[in-house]
C-alpha cells in the first residue's frame, strides 16, 4: 500500500516545472467577453515551453516571457486563444465562450469538473429544469426515464412510499443494488429502513425523499464502474451526484442578488382504479351470498336481500346493530370509488442567490405538502438550505453547505394480500378494498362497532377488516429530522497544485410508529403499538491533492491523490406493546404487554451497526494534443466488516477517449459532423458485506414460555441457525464499456451510444444449508453474475426558425442479465418473495427469474385438466416469468414559440413480466368489466384429461364461469397471475408561458413563468385484462432486490395542476 502511494505521489511531483531565466514579465487580466468579469483559473502558458501560470480570482496573471513568444489562453468552456507577445508589458484578453464545440462541463467523481469530451465513460446529466416545479417531491421518481441505464420503480403510488433505483441492472444477489447518493461531494444515505417484511407491512420511505428537488442545480449520474472507482465499493451500483443550488458556485453573476418564489398546486388522484362492472353482485355460482367473491346473481334478477349486518354469528356484535336484524338491503351497484380521494399537493419555494466574484451564497426554503389519494395518507416536508463559498485572500477557498429537512409521513398500513385479505401479521388498506363486492355500500354502511369501537363489515363472521375502519384506526408513520452538510477548505499552493480538505456529515433521527386500535380483524386484534427511533450517522472526510498542468505543448496532465475516511453508525431503540386497555389511546402506558421484539419479524427492536471504511485513491489523466485522453484510476479500500486478511481490496480503472474531430483534419470545421468521439474503458469495484457476518452467535429469548402455575416466564438460549463465515471476502466487479459520442448538423443533433458488460465474481450468497448440518444458512462467496447492455441517448433540434423551435430528445436502453455460475450443489437460490413464488438465481437464467406453480402438461405439451374440469396446479415450481424488459425507451418532444413551451414525455416498455395479484384477484372475484358477460353459460377449458395411466384425451367437461375465473385464473396455478407488462405511458405533459422581458422591464420582476403540468396522465398496459387497469410501475416487494411482483399493494397516482415562478 505504501508503495502505491509513493508511486502516485512521485508522478505528481514529477510534473513540477523548473523555472528558466527569462527576459521579462508580462501581466494582464483575462475577462469574460460577455459579462466583463474576471475569469479565474484560466491556464496561461508560453507555447513551446513548460512555462505556465493560472489566473487568480480576479482574472489577473503574471508570466515571464521572451519577446516573440506566443501566449496560449485555455479554460474549460471557453475558446482557446493565442496571443503573440509584442513590446507591451500588459496583455489583457476578453475570452469568448466556446460555442462551436459546446464544451459541456460535467461534475465527475469527488466533485471534480471535467469537460465531457475528456471523459472515457458515460455520464448522464439531468438539468434543474427537468426536476424543479414538478408534481413529485421524490427525486428518485423524478429521474424515471430521464437517463438511460437508470431504472426507477416505485413501491406504489402512495405519497411517501419507497422507491427503487437500479442502474445497469442487478449485480448482487444478497447485497444492495441501489446506487450511492452524493450530495455536494458528501455521501448521503438514501436507504429505506424497512422494519418488517412486505408480507407483514412495509410503508417506509427511501431516505432520499429528504432532498428537495427545487434546490437541486444538477444531477449527474455516473453509471459505469470506470466512473465510480474513486468512490470505492459503495459506488459499484452507480453514483447519483447531486449538486444543490446551495452547493454550487453562482456562475451567472449578472445580477447581484436574485430572489425566486415558486408556488405550485396540484391534484393527486388514483390512476389505476379498475373499471368495475355494474351488473352483478356478491355470491358464488350465481347464487347470492355475502362473500368475498362477486359471482352472485345479476341486479336485474334480484332487488332486495337481507341486510348483511343483520346476520352476525357473534351475538355480541349483533347486539350493537339491532336495527339491521330482519331489515332489507337494496341489491344494486354502489359507488365505492368514493373511498379514494383527490388529494391536494402544494409546494412553496423561496430561493435567494447572490454574491460577488469573491464570495457567493445561496439559500432556499421549501414547504411541500402532499396529500395522497388514499384517505389519511399525507407527506409534509420542510427543507431549509444554506450554502456559500468564498475566495479568501491568502489562496484559500472556503465552501460550506448546511441543510435541514423535517419530513412527516403518515399512511394507513400497507401489506401484501393474496386476494383473500392479508396473509401476514399486519393489516393492509389495499388488502380487500379493490374487490369489494359491487352491492356492498362501502361508504354508506357503518364501519365501526359503536359499543366496542371495533371493525364491522358485511360477512357474518365479521372476518374482513373494514377498509374505512383501517383508515381511522390504524397507521404507519415516520417523522424524520435530518441535518446534512459539508465544509471544505482548499489551499492553492501554486496555480497548478492545490489541496482540498472536506468534512461532511449526514445525521437523521427517524421516529417510526406502527399502530392499530383493538377491535381489528387483521393483525393483532387486541391492539398493537410499535415505536422505534433510528438514528443514522455518516461522518465522511476527504483529503485530496490535485495537480493540473500542461507538461508541454502536446501533453497535459491532471492528477490527484486522495484519502477518504467514512464511518456509518446506525442505532435503533424501540418498544412494542400489545393488548390495548383503552381504545383510541396510542401510547405505551395504555397497553398491557411490552416487548423488545418486533412481533412481525421476530427481530430485535434495539440494534447497533458500526461500519468503518478507509480508502486511498488516485487518478492520473493525460491528454495529448487535446484530442486523446488517457485516464488511470485506482483505489484501495479497508473495511471493518471482514476479518483481517480479507478486509483490504485494491481495484483500478483505465479509459481512453479519442476526439476524432480534433484529430482528423478532414473532419475539423466540418459543418455536418461537428463532434465525434470514441471511448473505451475498464473499471472495477468491490462489495463489502454488512457487519457481523463472519462469526457465529448465540440467541437468547428471555420470555420464551410461561409454564402453567408459574408467575415468571423461563428463558432459553439457542445456538444461532446462521453459520458465521470467517473466510468471507468482498465481491469483485469488473466492467468494460465502449461508447461513441457524436454531434451533427451544426450541433443540432447529438447522440451517444454506450455498450457495457459488467460481471460480479465471488458473489456474496446467503445460502440455505441442509439443517442436518446443525445450521440453516451461511453467507459465502460463490457464483458469478453478468449484465450486458446498450444505452442510447439523443437530442435533436428539428426545427429552429423565426422563434419557433421543435426539439425531440430521449433515450433507449436494453440489458441482458445472466447468472453465469452458482455453487455446484445449488439448483437455484431464492432471494426475494416467497420460497415457492419468488425471484431466483438459477445458472444460465437472468438473475431474478420467477419460479412458481404451473399447470402440468402431457408429453405433447397440452395442459392437464383434473376430473372436475379445472386445471391441475403443480406441487413443484418451475420458471413461469422473466421480469426483465426486452427494452425501454423514453421519447420527449418540446415545441416552443416566443415564451410558450409545450412538451410531452412518453415512456414505453417492451416485454417484462409482472406477477400481478391485482389482475388475478379482480378477475377471480368477478369485479371488473372483463367478467361482465352472461354468467349462466358454461366453459370447457382447452386441455386434456388423464383417463388412464399415460393416456390423455381431450377435455370435454363443462365448468361454470365461477370455476373458470375463481378456481383457475384467480386462485389456481401461479402461471395465470403472470402478465406481460409491455406498456406505454404519457409520463409528463406541460404547457408553460414565460412573460416577455419587455413587459417585465418596468416591473421589479426579473422573470415570471406560468406552467400547467400533468404527471402519469395516461398509460396502457396492453396485455393486462382491460378492466383491471394495472400500472406496471410498482414493486410489491418493496425497496430491495425483488422485482416483477405486485400483491394488491401497488395502486398508482395521477397528478396535474399548475405552478408559477417569479424572480426578482
Amino acid at each position: 500500500m505504501k508503495q502505491k502511494l509513493l508511486l502516485v505521489l512521485f508522478l505528481v511531483l514529477a510534473t513540477v516545472a523548473t523555472a528558466f531565466a527569462q527576459t521579462r514579465t508580462v501581466k494582464g487580466r483575462v475577462t469574460d467577453a460577455e459579462t466583463g468579469e474576471g475569469v479565474p483559473g484560466v491556464s496561461v502558458f508560453v507555447k513551446g515551453t513548460t512555462t505556465g501560470t493560472v489566473t487568480d480570482i480576479n482574472g489577473n496573471y503574471e508570466i515571464s516571457v521572451s519577446e516573440g513568444a506566443i501566449l496560449v489562453f485555455q479554460a474549460v468552456g471557453m475558446r482557446t486563444t493565442e496571443q503573440v507577445v509584442g513590446a507591451q508589458g500588459t496583455i489583457d484578453l476578453a475570452m469568448a465562450k466556446d460555442t462551436t464545440e459546446l464544451g459541456e462541463v460535467v461534475v465527475t467523481a469527488v466533485g471534480i469538473e471535467r469537460e465531457k469530451k475528456a471523459l472515457g465513460y458515460a455520464v448522464s446529466t439531468v438539468a434543474s429544469e427537468q426536476i424543479e416545479q414538478k408534481t413529485e417531491g421524490d427525486i428518485g421518481r423524478l429521474l424515471r426515464g430521464k437517463a438511460s441505464g437508470v431504472n426507477v420503480t416505485q413501491a406504489n403510488g402512495v405519497s411517501g412510499s419507497g422507491t427503487n433505483i437500479i442502474i445497469r441492472g442487478y449485480t448482487s444477489i444478497n447485497g444492495s443494488n441501489q446506487p450511492l447518493f452524493v450530495v455536494d461531494g458528501v455521501p448521503f444515505d438514501g436507504g429505506a429502513n424497512q422494519q418488517s417484511s412486505f408480507v407483514d407491512g412495509q410503508t417506509e420511505s427511501s431516505r432520499f425523499l429528504d432532498l428537495d428537488p427545487n434546490n437541486i442545480e444538477s444531477v449527474n449520474v455516473l453509471k459505469g464502474l470506470n466512473a465510480t472507482v474513486l468512490y470505492g465499493d459503495r459506488g459499484r451500483n452507480g453514483v447519483i451526484l447531486i449538486t444543490t443550488k446551495s452547493g454550487s458556485k453562482n456562475k451567472d453573476l449578472k445580477k447581484k442578488t436574485e430572489i425566486s418564489v415558486t408556488q405550485s398546486l396540484f391534484a393527486n388522484e388514483i390512476a389505476s382504479l379498475p373499471d368495475f362492472q355494474d351488473n352483478y353482485g356478491s355470491g358464488f355460482y350465481n347464487s347470492y351470498g355475502p362473500f368475498f367473491s362477486n359471482w352472485g346473481p345479476s341486479f336485474s334478477e334480484l332487488q332486495v336481500v337481507p341486510h348483511p349486518y343483520g346476520n352476525f354469528s357473534n351475538p355480541l356484535t349483533q347486539s350493537a346493530f339491532p336495527q339491521f336484524v330482519g331489515a332489507d338491503y337494496a341489491y344494486r351497484a354502489y359507488d365505492n370509488e368514493e373511498f379514494f380521494e383527490t388529494g391536494i399537493i402544494s409546494t412553496t419555494t423561496i430561493g435567494i442567490r447572490g454574491g460577488s466574484e469573491k464570495a457567493s451564497f445561496s439559500a432556499s426554503y421549501t414547504y411541500y405538502d402532499d396529500k395522497g389519494f388514499t384517505p389519511n395518507n399525507q407527506l409534509k416536508r420542510n427543507t431549509l438550505s444554506f450554502g456559500g463559498n468564498a475566495n479568501l485572500s491568502n489562496n484559500f477557498v472556503l465552501a460550506a453547505t448546511i441543510n435541514y429537512t423535517n419530513t412527516d409521513y403518515t399512511t394507513p398500513p400497507i401489506a401484501a394480500s393474496l386476494g383473500s385479505g392479508t396473509t401476514g401479521d399486519g393489516a393492509s388498506i389495499f388488502g380487500d378494498v379493490f374487490y369489494t363486492p359491487r352491492n356492498i355500500d362501502l361508504m354508506g354502511l357503518p364501519f365501526q362497532n359503536p359499543l366496542t369501537g371495533g371493525s364491522v363489515y358485511y360477512r357474518s363472521g365479521n372476518d374482513i377488516q373494514n377498509p374505512r375502519w383501517t383508515v381511522e384506526n390504524a397507521r404507519s408513520a415516520q417523522k424524520v429530522d435530518r441535518v446534512f452538510g459539508q465544509m471544505s477548505l482548499t489551499y492553492n499552493f501554486k496555480d497548478w497544485l492545490s489541496v482540498l480538505y472536506r468534512a461532511g456529515i449526514d445525521v437523521y433521527a427517524e421516529d417510526n410508529e406502527y399502530f392499530q386500535n383493538r377491535g381489528g380483524v387483521d393483525g393483532n386484534i387486541n391492539g398493537i403499538l410499535r415505536t422505534t427511533t433510528a438514528v443514522n450517522r455518516i461522518i465522511n472526510t476527504d483529503l485530496i491533492i490535485t495537480a493540473n498542468k500542461n507538461l508541454n505543448d502536446d501533453f497535459g496532465l491532471n492528477a490527484l491523490v486522495g484519502f477518504n475516511t467514512r464511518r456509518d453508525v446506525f442505532t435503533r431503540q424501540g418498544i412494542e406493546s400489545t393488548q390495548q386497555e383503552v381504545f383510541g389511546v396510542a401510547r405505551h402506558f395504555a397497553f398491557k404487554n411490552q416487548s423488545a421484539f418486533n412481533s412481525f419479524s421476530d427481530g430485535q427492536l434495539q440494534l447497533l451497526f458500526e461500519e468503518n471504511r478507509l480508502g486511498l485513491y488516485g487518478q492520473v489523466s493525460v491528454d495529448y494534443k487535446d484530442f486523446l485522453f488517457l485516464n488511470l484510476t485506482g483505489r484501495n479500500d479497508w473495511s471493518n466488516t471482514l476479518e483481517t486478511g480479507n478486509n483490504s481490496l485494491f481495484y483500478t480503472g483505465v479509459s481512453l477517449a479519442a476526439d476524432l474531430t480534433t484529430a482528423i483534419s478532414a473532419l475539423k470545421g466540418s459543418d455536418i459532423i461537428n463532434f465525434l468521439k470514441l471511448r473505451v474503458g475498464y473499471g472495477s469495484s468491490a462489495n463489502f458485506p454488512g457487519p457481523y457476518n463472519t462469526r457465529n452467535t448465540l440467541g437468547i429469548s428471555t420470555r420464551a414460555f410461561l409454564p402453567t402455575g408459574q408467575a415468571v416466564p423461563i428463558s432459553t438460549n439457542a445456538v444461532a441457525n446462521q453459520l458465521g463465515n470467517p473466510d468471507l471476502k468482498p465481491e469483485r466487479l469488473d466492467e468494460i464499456e465502449v461508447g461513441i459520442e457524436t454531434r451533427w448538423w451544426k450541433n443540432r443533433i447529438s447522440a451517444e451510444l454506450s455498450l457495457y458488460s459488467k460481471t460480479t465474481n465471488d458473489l456474496l450468497l446467503d445460502r440455505d444449508l441442509d439443517p442436518s448440518t446443525g445450521f440453516t444458512g451461511i453467507t459465502q462467496n460463490a457464483g458469478k453474475v453478468r449484465v450486458q447492455g446498450l444505452e442510447f441517448d439523443y437530442n435533436a433540434l428539428l426545427l429552429d426558425k423565426s422563434g419557433f423551435q421543435w426539439r425531440v430528445f430521449g433515450n433507449f436502453q436494453l440489458l441482458r442479465s445472466e447468472v453465469l455460475e452458482l455453487p455446484d450443489d445449488s439448483d437455484g437460490i431464492v432471494y426475494a418473495g416467497f420460497t415457492n413464488l419468488g425471484n431466483f438465481a438459477i445458472e444460465g437464467q437472468p438473475l431474478g427469474v420467477i419460479q412458481g406453480s404451473f399447470v402440468p402438461r402431457d408429453p405433447q405439451g397440452r395442459r392437464i385438466v383434473n376430473s372436475d374440469g379445472n386445471y391441475l396446479a403443480s406441487t413443484v415450481i418451475d420458471i413461469i416469468a422473466d421480469p426483465y424488459a426486452d427494452w425501454t425507451s423514453t421519447i420527449s418532444t418540446s415545441l416552443s414559440w416566443k415564451g410558450i413551451t409545450f412538451s410531452m414525455e412518453w415512456q414505453y416498455q417492451q416485454g417484462g413480466d409482472l406477477v400481478s395479484y391485482t389482475a388475478s384477484t379482480l378477475l377471480g372475484r368477478g369485479i371488473t368489466s372483463d367478467t361482465d358477460f352472461d354468467r349462466r353459460q358454461t366453459f370447457v377449458l382447452p386441455g386434456v384429461q388423464e383417463v388412464a395411466d399415460g393416456v390423455f384425451e381431450e377435455n370435454r367437461v363443462q365448468i361454470a364461469a365461477t370455476d373458470l375465473y375463481f378456481t383457475t385464473y384467480g386462485f389456481g396455478a401461479d402461471e395465470f397471475k403472470v402478465f406481460d407488462a409491455t406498456h406505454l405511458r404519457l409520463n409528463e405533459v406541460s404547457l408553460s408561458y414565460s412573460l416577455p422581458s419587455k413587459i417585465l422591464s418596468k416591473t421589479p420582476f426579473g422573470s415570471v413563468q406560468l406552467t400547467l403540468s400533468g404527471y402519469n396522465m395516461w398509460y396502457e398496459a396492453f396485455n393486462f385484462p382491460d378492466g383491471t387497469n394495472v400500472d406496471p410501475n410498482v414493486n410489491g416487494l418493496g425497496v430491495g432486490n425483488g422485482q416483477g411482483f405486485e400483491f394488491l399493494n401497488g395502486p398508482s397516482s395521477r397528478r396535474y395542476g399548475g405552478s408559477i415562478k417569479i424572480t426578482f
Binding site: T565, R613, W638, R695, I700, S715, N717, T773, G774, L872
Partner: protein, 225 residues
C-alpha cells in the same frame, strides 16, 4: 516537499472528526450473544420447548393421513408439497440436535447429569420420530457445521440403535447425583422419570429395529435441499 506533506497529514489528523473510523478490526456483534456465553440451563429449556414444536409439526401430517383431522387439498395431488416438512426437519436438526451437541460437553464438565440425561432422552425421541417418517436420515455425519455440508443418511436401523443407546446412557446418568437442578417442563419431578428400563415403557421395541426395512416407506417427493 516532505515536510509540507507531513504537516498536511498532521493537520488532517487534527481535523479528523472521528478517530474511531481508523479501526478496521472486526468486532463481535452487539446485537447477539457470543457462542461461548451459553448457559446449559437455558439451552436445555430450548431443547424441551423445541421438541414440543417438533412433535406438533410432525404429527399434523400423520393425523391428516389417518383422518383424525381434515386434509386440505382438495385433491390428493395437491395435498402436500415438497417443502411441507422443511420446518420440522429444521427444528429437529438445527434447533434440537444442535443445542444438545452444544450443551452436553459443558454439562458433563459441570457434573450436571440430570441435564445430560434429559437431553439424551429427547434426542432419542426426535431421532425415532425422524426415522418413523423419513426412513434413512443423517446421524453420524450430522451437526458438523462447515466440516460437512452434505451429511449422508444412515440406515434407519442404525439410527434406531443409536437412539436405544442414548436411552440406556440416559438411564445410567439419571441414577447419578447431579450438581445442577434443571427446569423440567415435561414432568417437573424427578420421581416420574423411569429408573429402570422397562421394556413395555420404551417407545422403541427391539423388534422394531430387527424388522426395520426401508421398503416400509413410500417414496417422498424430493426435498428442496
Amino acid at each position: 516537499m516532505k515536510s509540507i506533506f507531513n504537516k498536511l497529514f498532521a493537520l488532517f489528523l487534527v481535523f479528523a472528526t472521528s478517530c474511531e473510523v481508523l479501526d478496521t478490526d472486526v468486532q463481535d456483534t452487539p446485537n447477539a450473544l457470543r457462542p461461548d456465553q451459553f448457559d446449559v440451563n437455558l439451552l436445555l429449556n430450548n431443547v424441551q420447548l423445541s421438541t414440543v414444536t417438533f412433535f406438533q409439526g410432525m404429527t399434523d401430517e400423520g393425523m391428516e393421513v389417518t383422518r383424525m383431522i381434515h386434509m386440505f387439498g382438495p385433491l390428493y395431488q395437491n395435498a402436500y408439497f415438497p417443502e411441507n416438512f422443511d420446518a420440522n426437519w429444521s427444528t429437529a436438526y438445527a434447533t434440537v440436535l444442535a443445542d444438545i451437541r452444544t450443551l452436553i460437553p459443558q454439562a458433563e464438565d459441570l457434573g450436571a447429569w440430570r441435564h445430560t440425561a434429559v437431553a439424551r432422552i429427547l434426542e432419542s425421541y426426535v431421532l425415532v420420530g425422524l426415522v418413523d417418517y423419513f426412513g434413512d436420515v443423517p446421524y453420524t455425519e450430522a451437526i458438523q457445521g462447515s466440516d460437512n455440508f452434505n451429511p449422508r443418511a444412515d440406515s434407519g436401523a442404525d439410527v434406531y440403535n443409536a437412539a436405544l443407546g442414548l436411552l440406556n446412557q440416559a438411564l445410567a446418568e439419571l441414577d447419578r447425583s447431579t450438581s445442577l437442578t434443571s427446569t423440567d417442563l415435561f414432568l417437573g419431578e424427578r420421581a416420574y422419570w423411569p429408573t429402570r428400563p422397562n421394556g413395555a415403557a420404551w417407545p422403541i421395541a427391539s423388534s422394531c429395529v430387527s424388522s426395520y426395512s426401508a421398503a416400509w416407506w413410500m417414496p417422498m417427493p424430493e426435498t428442496a435441499w
